[in-house]
């Protein structure tokens, strides 16, 4: 496996509901942390890539505006979007620009201020997040799409409501110890009990998914600084974390053109296969993983797409607690999207930050024992875009 491009700095803002500041100030929070982490100045950055879902931004073409605020002019900058996986895509493009020799140091900044627009406006945009010509006219929304997968898994793969609940219980176990997460409370089975009048998480959203099966909108930013091997040496970076494998894939937007929902999300499997091949690694080599748990069902499907469990058997990993920190394959030990919240454009960068900190041994109370290889699974839309990135020391 080639070690040509490294992550030399990571940063993330607190993920919050209703950030009290502009998108420039929000972006600066993650940027400052990543730059101080890398120990570099703006003069040492060759280019910047900004990643978000544009429908939430009031600012048109935010890249130039944010680059100026971060002190990254006159270097080139541009914007990329693959909805929820925008910052993984940004990292992939950054990798390509460095590997080609065009640049040596690149800032990839993901951000989203979902509260930039009203919740009614946000709800409308969410409804249009899929096929607006042929599906949105039926009144679709994100939880309903993932619920289609969950229903198929229950009918054909023996998945239960309790399995889904236990994904949330695990997420909350780590959300409680992640000070950057929006949801810091613990979750117990009684919080999902429909007979318990206090159980807010039990309220149905799109059956079989309940409130507790869904991650929350949030405002946040993340920043990943990439550098060439040459620069890692020149800058004297002590703990570089290298990108070992990158995989990405796309899929039909319309559910009518997809494989049976009981097979899971295809883009994740395709992207994982590409990333494993490039890294010369397999599922058995992964010591810690971050997966895109926008809904509880999404984490179960991720176990299967990544090869941690056979198709249809992802439920076993949560039943056996194999994805807890002490388990066979720790997954989302930072609380995942379910606890951290999901500021669309910032999510991939936040996942990458977690894995980089884990591989450096700097994940604090969330630290997994001595991991060498980590993986990030980041999905855009309802399986419209799939990204899998593998990292190593």
């Amino acid at each position: 496996m080639a070690k040509d491009v490294a992550v030399i700095g990571v940063g993330q803002s607190h993920f919050v509901r209703g950030y009290e500041g502009s998108i420039r100030e929000l972006a600066f929070e993650a940027f400052r942390e990543a730059m101080q982490d890398a120990g570099i100045t703006q003069k040492q950055v060759d280019a910047s890539i900004f990643c978000s879902a544009p429908e939430y931004d009031k600012q048109r073409s935010p890249a130039g505006v944010l680059a100026e605020y971060l002190g990254l002019i006159p270097q080139p900058t541009f914007y990329v979007e693959t909805v929820c996986s925008s910052s993984s895509t940004g990292v992939k493009i950054g990798y390509g620009l460095i590997k080609s020799g065009l640049h040596d140091v690149i800032v990839v900044l993901g951000f989203q201020k979902m509260s930039e627009i009203t919740s009614a406006e946000s709800q409308e945009r969410m409804g249009r997040g899929a096929d607006i010509q042929w599906e949105a006219p039926f009144g679709t929304m994100m939880p309903a799409y993932y619920a289609l997968y969950a229903q198929a898994y229950m009918a054909k793969n023996g998945l239960t409501h309790d399995d889904l609940m236990n994904v949330r219980v695990k997420a909350a176990t780590y959300g409680q110890i992640n000070e950057r997460a929006v949801y810091r409370k613990g979750v117990k089975p009684e919080d999902f009990d429909p007979k318990n009048p206090e159980a807010k998480l039990a309220a149905p959203v799109a059956l079989p998914l309940r409130v507790g099966d869904c991650c929350a909108n949030a405002d946040g930013s993340s920043c990943i600084i990439l550098a060439s091997k040459k620069k890692v040496k020149e800058l004297g970076i002590k703990k570089p974390v290298y990108i070992l494998g990158l995989g990405a894939a796309s899929e039909a937007v319309n559910m009518a053109a997809r494989p049976d929902c009981a097979q899971g999300i295809k883009v994740a499997k395709v992207a994982a296969d590409v990333a494993y091949k490039m890294a010369g690694a397999g599922p058995q080599d992964i010591d810690v993983a971050e997966v895109h748990d926008c809904f509880t069902i999404a984490e179960i499907m991720a176990y299967e797409a990544l090869g941690f469990a056979p198709v249809g058997e992802g439920k076993q990993l949560i039943r056996e607690k194999a994805t807890y920190r002490e388990g066979k394959i720790p997954v989302n030990v930072d609380g995942g999207l379910l606890s951290k919240g999901h500021p669309i454009g910032a999510t991939g960068g936040s996942q990458i930050r977690t894995i980089v900190l884990q591989l450096r041994g700097e994940a604090g109370p969330m630290q997994v024992k001595d991991p060498e290889i980590g993986l990030v699974h980041n999905i855009g839309g309802v399986g419209l875009y799939g990204n899998v990135t593998i990292f190593g020391r």
Binding site: Q123, G127, W134, A136, P143, Q151, A155, A256, A262
Partner: protein, 137 residues
């Protein structure tokens, strides 16, 4: 123009496949089939991604299929607030063709099962919007 008549609420006014709505008015749910290579598409397409032809014919979708999966929405996006709860699902016709739609209101939620036999039919809303839905076989 014409496609704004499709569905509970349409977000698309213009498409070369707008005739789909005229067929709905005739009680037909139609897909497109490429005149050159015979590839069938549902939802309909104006262009064939297989052979690049833009010469398409219309064909009527099968009526009988199996419910691959479904969900019941208890909340709705902006513009659909009056509708919940409503159930949406995917029908597999078994010949490579599938369809996504709402389930008819006359199917009781407890009767909906993955794998059940279903049929599809057109419907007209009170406000004149045209659509199609999944019904009991």
């Amino acid at each position: 123009m014409g496609f704004e008549k499709f569905g509970r609420k349409s977000f698309t006014a213009m498409t070369k496949t707008a005739k789909f709505v005229d067929f709905l008015a005739e009680g037909k749910i139609n897909g497109t089939v490429c005149k050159k290579c015979g590839t069938k598409y549902f939802p309909p397409r104006a262009d064939c991604a297989n052979c690049f032809s833009n010469e398409m014919d219309w064909f009527e979708m099968p009526k009988k299929g199996r419910l691959e999966t479904f969900t019941t929405a208890m909340y709705a996006p902006f513009g659909f607030e009056a509708d919940p709860p409503y159930t949406m699902g995917v029908v597999d016709f078994g010949n490579g063709l599938k369809l996504f739609a709402r389930l008819a209101k006359d199917i009781k939620p407890e009767d909906v099962k993955v794998g059940m036999d279903v049929t599809v039919r057109t419907l007209k809303y009170d406000d004149g919007q045209l659509s199609f839905e999944i019904a009991k076989a």
